[in-house]
Subunit: 431 residues, 4 copies
């Protein structure tokens, strides 16, 4: 992707979905942003992302029946472009869109992201609405059989000059607002034939819009044989369907990371999805603390950071407890999250796994051992010659801070679903 983001640290931020579902509003966004600026920014957390249906009227009002109310009213401009619902986002009133909110976030030193659905609103196609600076109307760029299965709002857009004009008009608007990050949904696993072309159209629209934006693709699972295509056009792509606080999903992520381990590079981040930590689920009608045990939380943070996944927090930040905050601000763990640390799985069995990440400059080596089974305690080990480090090495376990001398085999007794992660420094003088 020419002109695409090529940072060496994957995006770190917060996303409204896990707590608010479709119901987030401006007040909540501001409160979370303020919390992040005060407490997390210094550790690298910087994106605030407004997730799905910010354009919908009364979203969530029929939640028992519908996550997304079909055929419902949406806020839209005269050019078939969705706008924030001004009832929920008062600063958007008068056609100002997300501009004022983005400005406020920027003033806090943060970056602003929004979720969009691939496509053009169905209602615009049925009403033959206009497209900015385009001679044809929405019905001429919409694809009548390209829909999203789980959301009723949009039709896919044709890969034609007029279709590109529609996407260009969207991103021109987002650039005007000051958007830094786009999470585009219904586009990553190619349920619909047009989705693949739409990735390239959106990528081109971003290059043309005159503003840097991270492009994040959802939902997953992405297709391994299309890795080259995601890398060409996007920055992040989900390697999983929605991830929640369920051990089976976390255990399953080890298999997904195995498949994608060779595709992490500057600007390219296979995405393990949001971190369902802390307080979750209010908009879904199931407000709760995360169901992950603390061992599972450490396992998740260790895998995401060593593998190099983007980190997007799902918790309502204003309700964060101390333990969760500690997890999110552990500088030793977060330090793994850099593309100089090249992640590789050493082995994966039903009940255990080991990963390493060797720093290409310093040759420091991170090693993580995981107990994936349900036994109360399990010894997990790895031979040092698999790591390429000397047979006698010193290792520091990063969660505990303890140091040990290792001969030939690094081993740890781990609790169920738990992990240990070690840093073995290279002593040969490279840096």
């Amino acid at each position: 992707m020419d002109g695409k983001q090529t940072g060496k640290i994957p995006p770190m931020g917060w996303n409204s979905y896990d707590y608010y579902d479709t119901t987030v509003d401006e007040k909540a966004i501001r409160a979370n942003a303020e919390y992040m600026a005060a407490n997390l920014k210094e550790y690298g957390w910087e994106y605030i992302v407004v997730d799905i249906q910010w354009y919908a009227k009364n979203p969530g009002s029929r939640r028992e029946e519908h996550q997304y109310i079909p055929f419902a009213e949406v806020e839209m401009d005269e050019y078939s472009r969705l706008l924030p619902d001004a009832d929920r986002f008062p600063s958007a009133a008068g056609g100002k869109g997300f501009g004022p909110l983005a400005d406020y976030l920027h003033s806090l030193g943060l970056k602003f992201g929004i979720h969009i659905m691939r496509g053009i609103p169905r209602i615009a196609a049925h009403r033959h609405d206009a497209i900015l600076e385009c001679l044809v109307t929405a019905d001429e760029v919409a694809i009548a059989n390209s829909i999203c299965y789980w959301n009723p709002d949009m039709y896919g857009v044709k890969n034609t000059p007029e279709g590109q004009m529609y996407y260009d008009s969207l991103f021109r608007l987002y650039a005007e607002w000051g958007v830094d990050y786009i999470k585009c949904d219904d586009i990553c696993r190619y349920d619909q034939p047009s989705a693949k072309a739409e990735i390239a159209m959106i990528s081109k629209a971003i290059r043309r819009c005159g503003r840097d934006m991270v492009l994040s693709l959802s939902p997953g699972p992405a297709k391994p044989e299309e890795a080259w295509y995601y890398e060409k056009h996007a920055n992040m792509w989900r390697i999983t369907d929605d991830f929640w606080d369920d051990w089976r999903l976390l255990k399953d992520m080890f298999k997904r990371c195995e498949v994608w381990q060779e595709h992490v590079s500057p600007g390219n981040y296979p995405d393990c999805d949001m971190l369902p930590l802390g307080r979750l689920g209010k908009g879904f009608g199931h407000e709760r603390n995360t169901r992950f045990t603390y061992e599972e939380q450490k396992t998740m943070m260790t895998l995401w950071c060593l593998f190099g996944s983007p980190l997007m927090l799902g918790a309502e930040m204003t309700l964060l407890d101390e333990d969760t905050l500690a997890l999110l601000t552990n500088r030793e763990i977060l330090a793994m999250l850099h593309t100089d640390n090249v992640p590789r799985q050493i082995y994966r069995e039903e009940d255990r796994a080991a990963w390493k990440a060797v720093n290409i400059r310093t040759e420091d080596c991170y090693v993580a051992l995981f107990h994936l089974g349900d036994e109360e305690e399990l010894q997990v080990e790895v031979e040092l010659d698999e790591l390429g480090v000397p047979e006698e090495s010193n290792a520091t376990e990063l969660w505990s801070g303890e140091t040990c001398e290792v001969r030939q085999t690094l081993e740890a007794k781990l609790p169920a679903h738990g992990c240990a992660v070690y840093l073995i420094k290279n002593n040969t003088g490279k840096s």
Copy 2:
């Protein structure tokens, strides 16, 4: 299916699709009906079926791009029910629908059929239009992710009391018009989850409407494991996707008939689709005579009749030539088309096949031999003991009228893609 049609002869008629595509009009319907009444009715042909998009404005006007123009205008009443386009069907003006046309056909001694798409018009759902005698509006019965892949007009209907009310309102209207036959499309091969339930809803609506109607399901291929379900709810179901004048499709039909041979019974007719004979393709922009050779045409007629498929002629009847007319009016061949004649494949190989149909009352036996290969001539044979007839029998070949004595083996030299079909009368006195 309680109350469903249980005739012993499958429906025989004419369908507008193969010649007119979406563009048929009242004048054409009347002309074809008059031809049928004058020339074919006495042989059993009686249905006249108006195929797809009789409700569309200017259908076919953008034929290079679209068979079905998306998001285009349709004729619809205030209760979300599609009506005939009065520009094409003048007698429908003033809200009279197909009533006057049905009356005319009935006056000719014919029966009247229409094509419908499963579902409710998309535009009605987006506009929140009313449903007859129902408290909720169209958006409440439409399923936003149940669409047809190849036609943009409808959303599937929910399996709820309100959804049933919509279908009931449709069939009440069709009964008022005098419809005798419904070809319901996008419902047979279950591309969409709601389609299976919609078959039962439509079946119930027909029982409730107070008028006998044949229910024909499209497109195929139907699913063999659902045979019991089609038989419970419908009269005909397509065992193939659209059938055209292409030898590969005709050869393939032998495999399909093999699978479905046990599911032909009074009122239940696995459907081999229209007969693409005579003059075809005008509405598709490829007007032509059928591409089938005369041998292939006889092979098709023989298979359809012996197997017991409905016969729906695709030709523009006013342009019928003598040879085709002779094919359609051969009383010996048409006589096979009765459920007393139980069809069974004897064998099928790459280049040849044999079928029999034994009459359960008379024990007369039909035998058909087919050359399915491309060799100029091939001998095809069947042992008499496979037929359950005496080792010395007399047989009459029905297309030629020739009679022969057979000892042990019935054999024929057949031209490429050709057939012979014999009647071996039972001489034991049963009748």
Copy 3:
């Protein structure tokens, strides 16, 4: 299938597998046969079937590792035909095969069946052993890539005159022994390309062997689109993989019977597999009483009998308890098991189902109501107009013997996994 069995009652008998796995011996067969003759024969039970690996040496001796020991020694004659292991079947010594045992069973008024694997022994192919009266050796009829996934003994046989000669030689031997029933395994679900042709070869070999034999095909699930083929060549075909005493499998059988309901006819019996009742599992190292509750056992017997499945008992009969014996000798329930009673599912939902079977001669109607859910009690009902019986009828519940008057709706409160089955006699004088 010309010359195939066309009885109106599906085969009823006993099979050694559920209790003995591969380890059954002559003593056990005789003991069970004697029990059947004394206690069950008068109710219609008559087949005694010796299941898998009667030809194997020391079967079961490495049961932890292998159900079937690969590359192990087998008893075989000079013509590549497997023989009973004389260590386990002493009467087979001296090349007498199963003849003496069959004679004994016949002397008890019973019938004798054996299990075979499709194909020719692998070792015969590798050793180039002879085939009876055939010029070529075993390697020339074996198909090197047609194997069974779960049993290591055989290669598939080529569909050639020499392959047919091998099967003919097998069935000539079985006819000499006096075999009445063949359960042929690895042949029904077509895991391997040659299996379909082998069905026809075996069918032909049976016709040629001069002795009537029931042909039973395993394992399932059979393919609905091949129903016509099974009916042409066999008498029974499994519609399920191995069935055991697990409620999920029993519940699942309702779906399978739904699919196959139209394929029960004289001589043709879709097969729900053995009845895992009474004492089970010794050869598997898990001897136990059936895990089915008594309600589940009644549900199973009701479904199998109403649907018309063959009944093959899995219990060790010499250990039968009174309750199980009562289940197996209930004449009212067993009376449903006749092809004059045509089975049809009325409906099936997640938690309940209803079936009927109408007698084509008497028009008596059986109705079964099933509670398929886990709720302690559930009311299940059916409208009389679905049954075609008068709106006021008398019904007798067959398990309890209780009689009731029914108006419009037949309903019953049923315990979890339980059933009720009624007989509604036709009073119009038909018989």
Copy 4:
């Protein structure tokens, strides 16, 4: 893969299959080796690979029926290890195996490769043959249901210590012989469950055998989601099923290279399969010159070299014509074949494609334009800004040697199935 080959140029050599099928002998191997040493070695060609069934007696003697004669005699030592058929490889007589032949090739400055089938000979398992230094016999390490579909010789090997001992014994023998390259077949696309584990077992056996060997996996197509696994254990893996001289297969390779473009790195070579050039097909009974046109041959060489595939010539070298020799000795084209040149597809459409490869040290840029359609001539182009080179650059077309100045767009008129490939040198002084 620890200790695995990490050369920066993929293996280049010759393979006996395309010309000899199963029938190659020592004389042919020596003649081809001598030709290579004299004519091709200086251009980098160095491997001579003996392909399938060098252990078989009379291979090809029943070629009409069988490519691989089932249950036929093979040359094998007392430890279940296949040996070269001494009738065809006389120097192998007396148990010397391929040692003398390997020595001769080494004396010519060449390297020696052999093809093996995954697994242990079936006959060894059925005979319970010994395994070197192992307490158990062949039947204990063979997997009775792990076979190759298209070759009847072997059973898969269990992933147990004893199974590993068998593979270790094989590679110890190959090391003694002096084998440099192993093409292991029936192992890459995982038709059978054991194949994945066998890759790791073979990889381990190579590390243990004390001799460097290239490990090449066949047949394809390999699985993109297993890329990491092939890279860990092997050097080459086929991304296609057998490739032959058919334009459809060559066109299809563009899609395959697209998928695998990111997986070429030192020691890791996705493999486009042999080059079917020159004289081919004698062993198959269809001796011929390649069916590829000269344009297609250049297209193939260009794609294989730019992409970085191994180059394995299929032609009988002693019959090489001048034109083919020129193709194989074009130093400018062969220079692309180095992992410093990182290949990337620029675009691929139905009728055209463009690729680049940028040298990571010099930043020189190769660009290839391909006409994949059937039109006599087509203009194909690429924008210079896609290449990252200056808007005004000089380019040399490598097949013609012609130089041109390029402004913004590099374009060429190409014949059907033809290509042009340019080198654009970096002028900024890097080297």
